[in-house]
Amino acid sequence: MSTQPPLIEAENLSVKYSNGDLALEDVTFTIDSSTFLAVIGPNGSGKSTLLKTMLGLLKPNEGSIKVLGYDAKRAYKTIRHLVRYVPQRDQIEHTVPMKVKDIVLMGRLLKKPPPRFSTTKDSECAKAALHRVGLDELWNQPFPELSGGQRQRVLVARALAGEGPVMMLDEPMSGADHDSQVRIVEALQEYYNENQVNIIMVTHDLNPIHMVVKDVLMLNRTVMGVGHPCAIMDLDLVKQVYGPTAKIVELDGHKYCITHDSGIDRHDH
């Protein structure tokens, strides 16, 4: 057993939306480090809220959540120093003429104090990260002119280029074409295997990353299940979370969940 603090430790956590509705209620769970964690659940189940609360972007209404032993309410500055984050795609504006390299370099320069000059090492890390998502040739291209899938790959590269023991990704595959989704999963899997890093991915569809993740947290305003991917795929549980039309299919000894939501591109607000 390691003496390291757990990656996430939530105790009786409740968080409200700005309109006063509860987004998360009485959430208690522990996830050990290091892991590749998928946070799943239907739309509006509080997945993104959980990420934002871990980052101190939203404040708990009750209870607490700790990331690597640091309380998100008090020590959010330390947590942000440890984290690299890929926000939901609708958070990214395309009003600034940035090149792909500028976006990837952001992952490193954001952690520096102003004037945030980039060194040769920063460029090398950024190039290596862009290589991981298979977009080397776009280094000098304008970011706003890329396709949705390419943009998502660049944003994942931005996180890969950075440093810090925790990567958080909020629906990184939403709006991405199939090829881009595959590249993103492969890049994350490869990076996870080669580095001492924790990956937390919020997704509405577990199936594309079923074989890659180590732990799954299933939310529906509160914790519905925590465990290994196949352990979570229990018919009664998924019907309870996704409604009576949800099904479990078995393929090559693994269980997958089919819901009315599978493969459909939607996300929480």
């Binding site: 942000r80 984290v83 890929v86 926000p87 990214i92 003429p97 952001m106 320069l109 945030r116």
Partner: protein
């Protein structure tokens, strides 16, 4: 003809001030207007220019009625501009440009209504001073106007040199920047407040018409066709300067306000930029 103009400039302090102001306003457009367009907030420019009008009329009202004789109209203009910036920045804390547009719209209406309201209680001799904020004239600048413009332009250049990356990061991805430990909220407020004060002081110096003319359209035009942040900044400077010089030159040959001609040319630059973009698009 050209020789006539040059000798006119050399001998006339009015023309010297106008030319200096032209360069300074182009610098202000390149630094402030550019980042407002990046932030999706070009509307803030018009909002603040009108808020300055409301603030200036409040200042005149307080002076005329003897309630606060020390309350200079410029002070009122700056306070109102900062108010609009704070309201807009607060609305946009979560990073969404759309909400900020509403905040600008509301404060725009508020300050413009206040200006018109107060006009009924001001001695008629003071009314032209209020309209001076709106119309302005680059050929009628005094030394205070030049001092205001120099101060504004220098502060903005310094701010952009220091925090260009931060302003760009806030514009692209406010949430991600915060999550990575940058004080995005702080830079968001800094950027909007500085832009607002700059717009208010520029409005006082050259009038709101010229402010709309060269702080919005050249930035929008450059941002349509240029591919890097630095080239957009330079592009804005060039388009703004060319529009204003053409405005000055044009006002000698045809009987029209230099600001109006500059505004027409700057607006035309945006239309041309969109056409260029349409023709060079590769799909």
């Amino acid at each position: 003809m050209i020789i006539d103009i040059i000798s006119l400039i050399a001998s006339s302090p009015v023309m010297q001030r106008a030319l200096l102001a032209t360069v300074l306003v182009a610098v202000i457009a390149a630094t402030s207007g550019t980042f407002m367009v990046f932030r999706g907030l070009s509307f803030l420019t018009s909002g603040v220019a009108h808020a300055a009008l409301g603030g200036a009329s409040l200042g005149l009202f307080l002076q005329a009625t003897g309630i606060a004789p020390w309350f200079d109209p410029i002070l009122g203009a700056v306070i109102f501009a900062v108010f609009v910036a704070l309201l807009t920045a607060y609305a946009g804390e979560r990073g969404v440009a759309q909400r900020m547009e509403v905040a600008v719209g509301v404060s725009f209406a508020l300050s413009m209504s206040l200006a018109v309201f107060l006009m009924y209680y001001l001695p008629p001799t003071m009314i032209p001073q209020i309209w001076g904020y709106l119309i302005g004239d680059i050929l009628l600048l005094d030394n205070l106007d030049i001092v205001l413009l120099v101060g504004t332009a220098l502060s903005l250049v310094l701010l952009v040199i220091l925090f260009k990356k931060e302003f760009v990061y806030v514009s692209i991805d406010m949430e991600g920047s915060t999550a990575h430990g940058m004080n995005a909220r702080g830079y968001h407020y800094l950027m909007l407040i500085f832009a607002a004060v700059a717009i208010a002081l520029t409005t006082k110096a050259v009038g709101a018409i010229l402010v709309y003319a060269v702080l919005v359209a050249p930035a929008a035009a450059s941002n349509e066709i240029l591919k890097t942040v630095n080239s957009v900044i330079i592009g804005v400077f060039v388009i703004a300067l060319a529009s204003m010089l053409a405005g000055l030159a044009g006002s000698f040959t045809i009987l029209a306000s230099p600001s109006a001609i500059a505004g027409l040319i700057a607006a035309l630059s945006y239309i041309i930029a969109i056409q260029i973009k349409r023709f060079t698009r590769k799909d």
